[in-house]
Symmetry: C2
Subunit: 350 residues, 2 copies
DNA sequence: CTATGCCACTGAACCGGTCAAGCACAGCGA
DNA sequence: TCGCTGTGCTTGACCGGTTCAGTGGCATAG
């Protein structure tokens, strides 16, 4: 396979390598006539730049990196990541950029990968997800001088450019909705406490319930269905059970629903359940799960846009992608014994 | 950030660039004493090869490509892909290789990506999944001369090296199990008929049911929960309903279970359900779903191993990764009216 | 003592682009 | 007529590795 190079284009077009480079990159230094001729020859030969050569001289790899650090099983259970990646690519693809992906099983491996990518010059920038509280990746990226876009709350990003969703506002909306329905004892089945977005929801949940003067309890899990189901049973079958439970992902909500179903507790008559993420899972249960959710594909696309802005030298201001909204379905309703006052909501969205 | 290059190592070690290259790559041409000195200097300076420079001269990118062509939503709902990727990385990471990922929304985009990666020399080889019947990617890869490992049945791979799981045998096991339980009317809720693995299961299902002399019906869907639920209801509430339904993924099985639950049909008393893939979803329903499943992470790892073998020049023989097995849980049992003969199974695995 | 061969290493070309510097020539004003 | 400026193109260095054709030194064979 004799690969087409600019040298060959230069010969055929009767100009030098340099002129071809100028012409192909749309920069001044060649006449329009020459440029057109070069472009035509390039098209005829179906020339594509050798990415390695570009990288070597230009120092731009046209590649971004993403490391996902979770257990493979957990990762598979979260539709979030695949949709997020799809959103990234929606923007990267048309711009000729590629995504380098690594799935790591712990943060140390991820950090090593970031170091390697930086040292080997494999990526122009990286996307960082699942921020921890006091995340060690933030200082590492600073130290490496590796451009990065952090997916998460500005309070966690340590000054790095970030794209975030306002989870606190979403929690407030959910709590407000539940309180308006008449619920007075709320519980939250949360993910790992060391994850930044979990902590942000923790705080928002505590604040919103305190402000509304209702009781609240948050329990942390590993995001698994197993723990989601167990914790739900413990809560609902225990002393002073909550009348509404808010989950940190969809899988745990599904597991909770099944556990209650098994225990003979009816949803939403006895307990209201609210999932988080609003993936397809929420629409395949009976009753269908009400959920706090957002457009994850668009979220990924927003992050990709931010990556390009970053390389263009824009300042590291946080970008709010959007605020997750509550989607009411059949798993939520007034608490048993009826609402304190008539349904005060404005009606749900499907 | 003054990047460390072999030139600097050469200066410090008092040898030439060439000698350093030999030393670092473990090839003959330098004495052991010199090699040790070079390696030590390299370690001290924390040298890493510039990947672009390597690619440019060596023509090896240490990168493999993977294109996933599905709707982003569908993709998110299939734990398969994330686990598969995790399995790939399990092997690639330690060997210093990276994975370039693209999510495409149709096959044309995927083909364009493959052309681009090949022309730009971005990858050493690619992994091809979701093979179609008469897949156009097979001749394309041939034309491009791009090394590839096909994930799927040898009959679909068109002579390209492939890694596969014996889905036909798994279908036979499932049908055998159902027949042994006494079921005489089976149905299958399948995915898109144009996917190779769906067709293989189609044929195996038809053959196995015919051999057992039981009635069988296969309906195709788009893998979505919505269609999975709808088709299940149509089947079970229709004329001559099946007593057992085998699904092509977990999501549809969950949706089917919910739909029946909603319609007041009890599982497994009235209908037996069997999911496929056996992700965490199967353990968060009530009753828990029996499923045909396998170790997807190991599958991905096997594919990665095959990639390296391919680059080492091994012949394109198919590799059987493993055969999915039936995992019995609570959604399967004898048909209503009792088994034709006493339970003939040897007991299930968790 | 020369010839032979091997070992360890050097020097330079090369991969395919980018880019700064330089050069030829046209157009223009003085 | 001579310089000056700007356009359009060429030349060649450079990125950081790999690789191949030497080369000099040394040991062994003839």
């Amino acid at each position: 396979m004799p690969r087409v190079t600019i040298k060959e284009i230069a010969q055929r077009a009767g100009v030098s390598k340099g002129a071809v480079s100028y012409a192909l990159n749309g920069r001044p230094g060649v006449s329009e006539a020459t440029r057109a001729r070069v472009l035509q020859v390039a098209a005829e030969l179906d020339w594509r730049p050798n990415s390695a050569a570009r990288m070597l001289s230009g120092a731009r790899t046209a590649t971004f990196g993403l490391v996902l650090t979770r257990q493979p099983e957990t990762l598979g259970n979260e539709p979030f990541f695949m949709q997020f990646v799809a959103g990234l690519e929606r923007v990267l693809g048309p711009r000729g950029h590629a995504l380098l992906l690594q799935v790591a099983h712990d943060l140390d491996v991820e950090m090593t990968t970031l170091r390697t990518w930086s040292a080997e010059r494999r990526v122009d920038a990286v996307v960082v997800v699942d921020l921890r509280v006091g995340d060690p990746r933030v200082p590492l990226l600073r130290e490496l001088g590796l451009p990065a876009v952090v997916v998460g709350d500005p309070s966690l990003a340590g000054g790095l450019p970030c794209v975030w969703t306002d989870d606190a506002a979403a929690v407030e909306e959910a709590v407000g909705h539940l309180v308006a329905l008449g619920h007075r004892r709320l519980a939250r089945v949360a993910g790992s406490a060391d994850l930044g977005h979990v902590q942000i929801r923790d705080l928002a949940f505590a604040a919103a319930t305190a402000a509304a003067g209702v009781s609240a309890l948050t329990l942390h899990t590993d995001f698994s269905g197993q723990q989601g189901g167990q914790v739900t049973k413990d809560l609902v079958l225990g002393d002073s059970p909550p009348t509404a439970v808010l989950y940190d992902n969809d899988l745990m909500a599904v597991a909770g629903l099944s556990a209650l179903n098994e225990a003979g507790v009816s949803v939403p008559e006895q307990v209201t359940l609210l999932a988080w993420d609003d993936s397809a899972l929420c629409r395949v249960t009976h009753p269908r799960l009400s959920a706090v959710g957002h457009d994850v594909v668009a979220y990924g696309a927003a992050v990709a846009e931010r990556l390009f802005q970053l390389l263009d030298g824009s300042p590291p201001d946080p970008v709010l992608a959007h605020t997750p909204r509550l989607h009411e379905r059949a798993s939520s309703g007034p608490p048993p014994g009826g609402p304190v006052r008539p349904r005060a909501t404005t009606g749900g969205r499907a």
